[in-house]
């Protein structure tokens, strides 16, 4: 796979939000305005880039058995750094992202990329993968935020739009609007994706707890897990 493909797969073919369905919590929560979406996207991309580079560089040193705790500590460290930077240089953004900034630690996209890509690939490839995935995440967030802000608040990045600002559908910026827009966007992606037939379920593929989740779905079907 060449570098360009490696980069672009994160944006379209394996878009973390709309195709892999990872990191739904921050997507729904911070897409109320485009400014928030950009801030969240950039913060998550920065953490993803740093963690992918370091995890990929350390992939031969970290023992396999304790890799998940190691990844979590590394990621938490980078999140703390980003948190402090945002607090210092963009206090307004810190206010509006609030709790979702420290919660980047448990964002499935970051752990998922560490698990699926960075621990098997070279440093440069991992960095490119992180940038692609980060861009995909940011673009999906901006798309969703644009829809919600334009209809819900009648503005785009804070600039009012003539007719819409007098006819706000404020439900769009509230919780139900988030679920609704996200559902419609995924349906749209389903409609236009070429190899569609596979019915999309909630994507846990990249989640580190996927193995345990498999057990949970076994329990769901009444099959007893082996251990």
């Amino acid at each position: 796979m060449n570098t360009l493909q490696n980069f672009s797969k994160g944006i379209i073919k394996e878009n973390p939000v709309l195709v892999l369905v990872l990191g739904t919590c921050p997507t729904l929560a911070t897409s109320t305005s485009v400014t928030n979406a950009v801030g969240m996207g950039v913060a998550a991309t920065a953490v993803l880039l740093c963690s992918n580079i370091v995890i990929s560089a350390l992939r031969k040193i970290i023992p396999d058995k304790v890799r998940i705790p190691c990844y979590i500590v590394l990621i938490a460290g980078f999140v703390t750094m980003v948190q402090m930077l945002v607090k210092a240089f963009a206090p307004a953004l810190d206010q509006s992202l609030g709790i979702y900034l420290p919660l980047i630690v448990v964002n499935c996209i970051i752990l998922g990329r560490a698990e699926m890509f960075a621990n098997k690939n070279k440093v440069f490839d991992s960095a490119v993968d992180a940038l692609g995935m980060g861009a995909g995440f940011t673009l999906a967030l901006i798309l969703m935020a644009a829809i919600r802000e334009v209809f819900g608040n009648g503005s785009f990045m804070g600039m009012p739009i003539p007719v819409l600002s007098d006819n706000k559908i404020s439900i769009m910026t509230m919780a139900p609007g988030g679920f609704f827009v996200f559902g419609c966007l995924i349906a749209l992606v389903n409609k236009f994706s070429a190899n569609k037939p596979k019915k999309k379920e909630f994507g846990c593929a990249g989640c580190p707890s996927a193995a345990a989740c498999g057990k949970a779905s076994c329990a769901e079907q009444g099959v007893t897990a082996s251990d």
């Binding site: 948190q83 609030g98 919660l103 630690v105 707890s209 949970a216 329990a219």
Partner: protein, 196 residues
């Protein structure tokens, strides 16, 4: 006392973790297919939320804040929660095997559940006392339980319906979640006025 009741009720209904704060969406969408697993998962979440608050609150108040180490909050909390979940699993397996059998599957999933980390951080941010923090955690857990159980009912009603091809699977689930969360909007402002 009134304040505790207000905290409890608003954590369950108004600031519902799943439906209005968007925390814990993964288990909400992933494990809500069947009523049994939805109940099991939510009980495990309530349990871990209470334990996590009981441990992280003193750590923040007696260890981090007095020593000016507030910036370590994120790292310390996530590690404490991860270790705690492991510990709980080991203890349950050894002493209460029946409970372990029903909750065991869900415990590892909870480590990376943002609702648990979220509730511990919010308790500190809101400046609650220890008792208020515990009540808030209980309320958040109950709110999670309520949302999960309600939604698993909604999902079983969706199954077998005639849904447009591209909406099958996740999209229709999300639209249903939108309608479920719409019903919770009705609680806004009710609870403050209840005791006014």
């Amino acid at each position: 006392m009134t304040k505790l009741i207000i905290i409890l009720l608003s954590a369950v209904f108004i600031n519902n973790y799943v439906l209005s704060r968007f925390l814990g969406i993964c288990p909400f969408l992933g494990v809500s297919k069947k009523m049994d697993s939805a109940t099991g998962m939510s009980i495990a979440v309530i349990f871990v939320m209470l334990m996590a608050t009981a441990v992280t609150y003193p750590i923040q108040m007696y260890l981090l804040t007095p020593n000016d180490l507030g910036y370590l909050q994120t790292i310390v909390f996530i590690l404490v929660i991860a270790a705690l979940v492991q510990l709980v699993e080991i203890v349950l397996k050894r002493y209460i095997p029946a409970l372990h059998k029903s909750l065991g599957v869900y415990l590892p999933l909870i480590t990376t559940n943002c609702a648990v980390l979220g509730v511990t951080i919010l308790n500190i941010d809101e400046g609650y006392t220890f008792l208020e923090a515990m009540v808030n955690s209980l309320g958040s857990g109950l709110g999670f339980f309520l949302a999960m159980v309600m939604f698993s009912g909604v999902r079983s009603a969706i199954e077998g319906n005639d849904i447009p091809e591209s909406f099958k699977g996740l999209p229709v689930t999300l639209v249903a979640a939108a309608i479920t969360s719409l019903s919770f909007l009705g609680f806004g402002g009710v609870i403050e006025n209840l005791f006014a």
